[in-house]
Assembly symmetry: none
Homo-oligomer: 137 residues x 4
């Protein structure tokens, strides 16, 4: 379910953040669903609990989850409030990626296919693989 890449140059906690975001975004983790506890998840992934802790804290800051003392962490799913800044950021990122893709020879059709594909995946409630930091490989 988590498939961390210990070898990636991207820090583990960041991989966790990204993965959980994806799961939330794709509705695999539903609103108010309880996330596994730090210790349990740490043991499951055989990873230092501090690392999990850090990931959860980050997700809370970004508004994707909320924590209740003594209870655990839960999916938020509200968002949409002041997401304008977020949207702007994502769009800028997209522009960069799109122009790079075009530069590398990817066709417009392929890009559009990518959109519809992703859209379908979302409605079918599925998470997809991801990795790749901003580094070269």
């Amino acid at each position: 379910m988590f498939e961390l890449d210990l070898r990636s140059r991207k820090p583990i906690y960041e991989q966790l953040v990204d993965r959980l975001k994806q799961l939330i975004i794709n509705n695999v983790l539903e609103k108010d669903e309880k996330l596994p506890s730090v210790r349990v998840l740490a043991q499951q992934l055989s990873i230092n609990p501090n690392t999990i802790q850090k990931a959860y804290r980050e997700l809370e800051i970004q508004g994707y989850i909320y924590s209740v003392k003594g209870k655990g962490s839960f999916v938020n799913h509200i968002m949409m409030a002041d997401s304008s800044a977020e949207i702007k950021k994502v769009k800028e990122q997209l522009k960069k990626n799109i122009s790079e893709a075009l530069f590398l020879g990817v066709s417009v059709e392929e890009l559009e296919k990518l959109i519809t594909e992703t859209e379908v995946d979302r409605s079918v409630t599925r998470g997809d693989e991801d990795d790749s930091s901003s580094e070269r490989g």
Copy 2:
């Protein structure tokens, strides 16, 4: 022209790499155009020459520029060779960004518009100002 964010979590040299890539991709820097020398750019940005060096070296490895010892650094623009790995990476990135955008409420139409816009910008030989600098710095 470069707008570095010294406080960003993203390393300076990486910001430089990204920015220069953009300039090359958008044809603002043309093939075989000479880049500012390491020392000059370092002074201009009041940054240590080694940092510029590192950025230039990275760009060279990635195939965006080439450097000649006694002469300077120049834009490459050839590419198109075996960029399959690069393409795969960009596509994965795109998928992530697209799903996040959709999650944040951006419509499919808007995304497609983004593609055509970017395409036009490219052929018109124009650079844009996005940077997406500090990630929640």
Copy 3:
């Protein structure tokens, strides 16, 4: 174990890269084996840590090792993916070396012996001492 030639025209970090490559290729360093930490190796060789860092980074780019921030650097040994470019380069190098060897009077038989010898060494998990250090230093 490393025998650096500080006076050589070949940069120290490059000597390191070459040497470590050899050790990995010849299975002296096994898959997922931990390399000496940057600082430790630096002290051992009485060399600046940055230089080691540079070598390790280069090896990571070339896919021979991977580095994890809080943990260390480890041997990769996967490869075999899209090394076609690498292969082409090595073959060109080989052609050059072969013609030079022939010119210097080395017989074809001797060259073929060299191949079988090297092949045996590899399967027997042994490292050799060649370095070809200073090029007419």
Copy 4:
């Protein structure tokens, strides 16, 4: 005839040395043949005469050519004298390259083919393309 790669990380003068070595080794340039004068070659290749000068000096040191004041530079082709050191160096290089090739998946048969190919090329008096410094690509 010379096909220098101004973009290569390998210095021009070194490319020249290598190329001329090849031409001599492959008998394209015969014993006592006169090399083009520094100025002429410099103009032909639109390169700084100092660079040519440096290449010729290097070749003289290595024993591939000899210079006669006021006359020019000529191919030597004697060698074979104390080439034992040279041979040892080349063999070491070869071993390294062979083990790397094997590591990258090149078969023994292919390597042997490379030898016979190169041998044929030599007797047919032909020079081949080369480049590739010890850097990655």
